[in-house]
């Protein structure tokens, strides 16, 4: 296991929301946010934060960046027992933060905009020029911010996050607006950074592409981290075994007559063929299907994907959720003491 560089222990932050009363129009209460998050960042690894809209990914990243102050819990710079609690200011020295979408605008040039941020970290001009080259903006160094495309703005934000050579890099939806080639180059860059020992936390909605990059996964829902670990650890934690995907010609077989366990299988019947995903194949199933004269085209094992993990962790299915933002009924809000509200 790699060295722990940062650890959140029961970190809590709840947004203040207006809850006016007739005689107290200014009344505010604590609403949604992050509840008792426990998370370890390992040196030179990429942690993927995955969760539905409103899960609290951005809030968690802002807490880790020292932008939102913790209302409870603490941040340690190594493992819980030997590590010391880090102040927000020290955290900001350690961390480079790339917000979700920075709309750089104005007549200021790319270089000047980055210099402005760099001066806050006491970064030299040569380092800034180097970073602009690294993110592929060297030809746009004197362009006004107003003339940048969304992808270029995203690159500039990445350069700003890399100022001061941070040990930890927090990236909120970094692939937004990047063209496929730039996205691939970006992923290569992330690999190089991890080789240098930089720990990266990456939040993205593009979950399928994410699996290729990340070393560890944290599933979030309603402000809570439901599971964290490697893909295999998370799958095991959620009792998700690998599945078997079978495709065949003609009509799909009635799997229930082979064994009771197959009642929960997913079958998709097309005009001339079918596809079935089984929790596990069980002994002798292929032989039984062949004996019953079913034409099998393919038979392969499949690891549970991130969406399945997320659905398993939240108790939701893709059909249930659709495009609706997750409802508060799924998980209760908890107070600092863990009591349900």
């Amino acid at each position: 296991m790699e060295e722990v560089v940062l650890q959140l222990k029961d970190a809590t932050y709840r947004h203040s929301v207006y809850a006016p009363l007739p005689f107290k129009p200014w009344r505010r209460i604590r609403g949604q946010g992050i509840f008792s998050a426990n998370l370890s960042l390992h040196k030179g690894t990429i942690l993927g934060l995955v969760g539905p809209n409103g899960a609290g990914k951005t809030t968690l990243l802002r807490m880790m960046a020292g932008i939102l102050p913790l209302q409870a819990g603490s941040v340690h710079d190594a493992d819980e027992h030997s590590g010391t609690v880090i102040s927000d200011e020290r955290l900001r020295h350690m961390v480079g933060h790339m917000p979700e979408q920075v709309r750089w605008q104005g007549r200021n040039t790319v270089r000047n905009a980055l210099l402005g941020i760099g001066e806050m970290r006491q970064v030299s001009e040569s380092r800034i020029d180097g970073l602009l080259k690294l993110v592929g903006l060297q030809s746009r160094i004197d362009s006004p911010l107003n003339e940048l495309s969304q992808g270029m703005r995203q690159r500039l934000t990445l350069a700003a996050a890399l100022l001061g050579s941070p040990k930890i890099l927090l990236l909120d939806e970094p692939l937004n607006g990047l063209d496929p080639v730039a996205a691939a180059a970006f992923i290569v860059l992330l690999g190089k950074l991890t080789e240098k020992g930089v720990s990266i936390v990456l939040s993205s909605h593009q979950v399928e592409g994410l699996v290729e990059i990340i070393d560890r996964l944290a599933l979030m829902h309603r402000g809570q981290i439901l599971a964290e670990g490697t893909m295999l650890e998370v799958a095991k934690h959620l009792n998700l075994d690998k599945k078997t995907e079978i495709t065949g010609e003609g009509d799909a077989p009635d799997f229930s007559k082979y064994t009771v366990e197959y009642k929960s299988i997913e079958i998709e019947q097309y005009s001339n063929n079918w596809k079935a995903v089984l929790p596990n194949s069980g002994p002798g199933l292929l032989k039984k299907l062949v004996n019953d004269e079913f034409e099998i085209i393919s038979w392969k094992d499949r690891q549970p994907n991130v969406i399945e993990m997320l659905c398993a962790a939240t108790g939701q299915s893709v059909e249930d959720v659709g495009l609706e933002v997750s409802s508060t009924a799924v998980l209760p809000l908890r107070t600092f003491r863990g009591e349900e509200e």
């Binding site: 933060h97 709309r103 007549r107 941020i117």
Partner: protein, 276 residues
């Protein structure tokens, strides 16, 4: 690099952004018209003001010409700084800045200094031009102390308007609300304060607008301490012995200090707690 140098460097960058912005180019003719223009007009040797008064010293001419600062420069201060926080917040640049190790209080001070200097530099240049115009027109130089009071009072009134606008900008998420607040406040202190004074005078049983009524003059002088424009004029009046509105010199400077410290403290405190 020391904290002070870092603040000054950041302030300089913010100042340059505003000083060379399009809106500054739009406002420069207005400033030119209001500040040296008024100095030119009030220094006319044949001018007779309402009431038959004729300004006869350089300080008196510049006191009347300070209307240009009150009407033009303060408005420009509002227009230059109204989006200092709200725009950065809406674009996401504020989040990036808040993630930097520079303390938020230092960032706030740099914002104040940057926005303030962006309007102060052109205004001071135009004030120097006004002093030269007055010298040319009436043949009298402003004394060193008069100069110090005139320039520092003008710097202070601009700072107050910058602070109000920055505060509004930090509380609002929309730039429209920020500018409405800034202009509203400017309107209140520039045009509506006379109405407030009249209402208080009426409620207190003081005869309204009687120039020779001591009670009215005292009341107006006292209420003016509650307005930045009023305090500005009180500061200038400290160099005009013929004007006495019942407010001591120390009271004027004490209120100037209060108008400076309180909004500055509120803004720094606000920036320490601001959310992206």
């Amino acid at each position: 690099m020391s904290d002070f140098s870092r603040i000054m460097l950041f302030a300089k960058r913010l100042m340059q952004e505003r000083l060379f912005s399009t809106r500054m180019y739009i406002m420069l003719p207005i400033l030119l018209l209001f500040i040296p223009g008024m100095a030119w007009g009030f220094s006319d040797p044949n001018i007779i003001l309402p009431g038959g008064h004729q300004p006869d010293t350089a300080m008196e001419v510049l006191f009347y010409a300070s209307l240009g600062v009150v009407f033009g420069a303060t408005m420009c201060a509002v227009l230059l700084s109204y989006d200092s926080v709200s725009r950065e917040r809406a674009s996401g640049v504020l989040e990036l800045r808040l993630a930097q190790p520079m303390p938020r209080s230092h960032q706030a001070i740099a914002m104040i200094l940057g926005s303030w200097r962006a309007i102060l530099i052109p205004t001071w240049i135009l004030l120097v031009l006004s002093v030269l115009i007055v010298r040319y027109r009436i043949g009298e130089w402003l004394s060193i102390i008069d100069c110090l009071v005139y320039f520092s009072s003008t710097a202070l009134i601009l700072l107050w308007y910058v602070l109000f606008t920055l505060l509004a900008s930090s509380y609002t998420r929309e730039q429209g609300t920020a500018i409405s607040f800034g202009i509203g406040l400017w309107f209140l202190f520039t045009f509506l304060w006379a109405l407030v004074t009249t209402m208080v005078a009426y409620a207190s049983g003081v005869s309204i607008g009687q120039e020779n009524d001591a009670a009215w003059i005292m009341l107006e002088g006292g209420l003016d301490l509650l307005s930045p424009n009023g305090v500005y004029h009180h500061l200038l009046e400290t160099r005009l012995p013929q004007i006495d509105r019942g407010v001591a010199v120390w009271q004027s400077w004490a209120m100037a200090l209060a108008w400076t410290i309180l909004p500055s403290w509120l803004f720094v405190r606000r920036m320490e707690k601001i959310l992206p």
